[in-house]
Symmetry: C2
């Protein structure tokens, strides 16, 4: 069964319809391959665009911030937000300026932000935030203190509607331009994990695989590590 | 002489003051190392967060879109926006959930968006958009047609105020937690250029270096390529 988000006035692609996707599977795969999103929200008529880490649980998205932050305080009680995730996959250079492009996978998700106030749900979310990125790691850490939990606000949002937009094709020029003698290509971009810079106070004998970090092998694509850790943390 | 943005109610960091920077040099270096930004703007009370490519000229930021797009039409005449650039440089895993973090360089820039309507300025901007990323490439392309120029809207924004926020340090745990036997590290992330997928209709004899593409050598860091091309296009 394919489930999809409703197509509304705000998530409907106005042009380039072939790049649009509204099905849950496509939207979720883009979200779950990311750690960082950008959130648009409005305070006193002023738009803000704040980057933060986030994760998904079913049709809910979660992020967090200091309880003292302007963003989390403003978002505590139903503020409309647009949460966007973008993977920049390539630059595409063509024979006319007009057809220069980029390949990307992005999702814009709409809903209303609310702080997680139930103490049990908040404690669970604080652990989920760790385990979603580093499966099993929360159990290896000491539990958060009461003061730490108080200092953090977890914000959640039900996805009311969302759209994915994807460009993943090659150079596309006007037919008459192919005779222009200019070098054209898709130049792929990949975000990869580097060699770990271990904490100078590392205890002897502790290893990545006893701490939920097996996925982060140097040279791996970060989006693949994120998708893998997501699926380990939330098996279907 | 150090010049800096005014510190206002909207750009002032509320916490983690040590991560904040308001000087032009720091803000510009983060902007100029990027191709993609996220822009927050509001239409009928609904915030949107749209990824797009952009560039800087002095204290002005420019981006573009289809003249038919909702974003560019809404932004034509003074709409307040927040333009954000984020480089995600590392994940930082610590001995408590609370001290897990990410290293990043980000800029939030505020201003009012306006379409570039002067025909000469618009033509110049259309070329600048190519040359900023691929220095000298616009001259190798055929000029844009009248119809193409009409189909594109170039939006510009004077930076009224802006703030950079940077975390670039290592694992920072509570003193009593260093005895916790869990593996901790900074795991660097790098976005790198891959091997080009050349256009299947490439003309014989054309090369990257005759087409403004010398910087995109496979394996190079994309942020470094962007900063280098920026400085070639806008020498100081």
């Amino acid at each position: 069964m394919t489930t999809a988000y409703p197509v509304t006035n705000r998530n409907r692609l106005r042009r380039r319809h072939e790049r649009g996707h509204y099905d849950h599977a496509t939207v979720h795969a883009i979200l779950d391959a990311a750690m960082i999103c950008h959130i648009a929200y409005v305070i006193d008529g002023q738009p803000f665009c704040t980057p933060t880490s986030f994760w998904r649980e079913g049709e809910r998205l979660y992020w967090h911030g200091s309880s003292a932050s302007r963003m989390t305080r403003a978002q505590a009680d139903g503020l409309p937000v647009c949460l966007t995730v973008t993977h920049h996959d390539a630059v595409v250079v063509a024979r006319s300026g007009f057809h220069h492009s980029v390949n990307y996978r992005c999702v814009m998700a709409y809903g209303r932000a609310r702080a997680v106030t139930d103490p049990q749900a908040k404690l669970r979310a604080v652990d989920a935030f760790i385990d979603r990125f580093y499966p099993g790691r929360a159990a290896a850490l000491r539990p958060p203190t009461e003061q730490e939990v108080k200092a953090i606000t977890i914000v959640g949002m039900e996805i009311d509607d969302a759209a994915a937009k994807i460009r993943s094709t090659g150079v596309a020029d006007e037919e008459e331009d192919y005779a222009t003698p200019v070098w054209c290509a898709v130049l792929p971009l990949r975000t990869v994990v580097g060699a770990p810079e271990e904490c100078p106070r590392q205890l002897p004998g502790v290893t990545p695989d006893t701490s939920g970090m097996t996925g982060f092998a140097p040279g791996r694509r970060f989006d693949e590590v994120m998708l893998e850790s997501y699926r380990a943390a939330y098996p279907t």
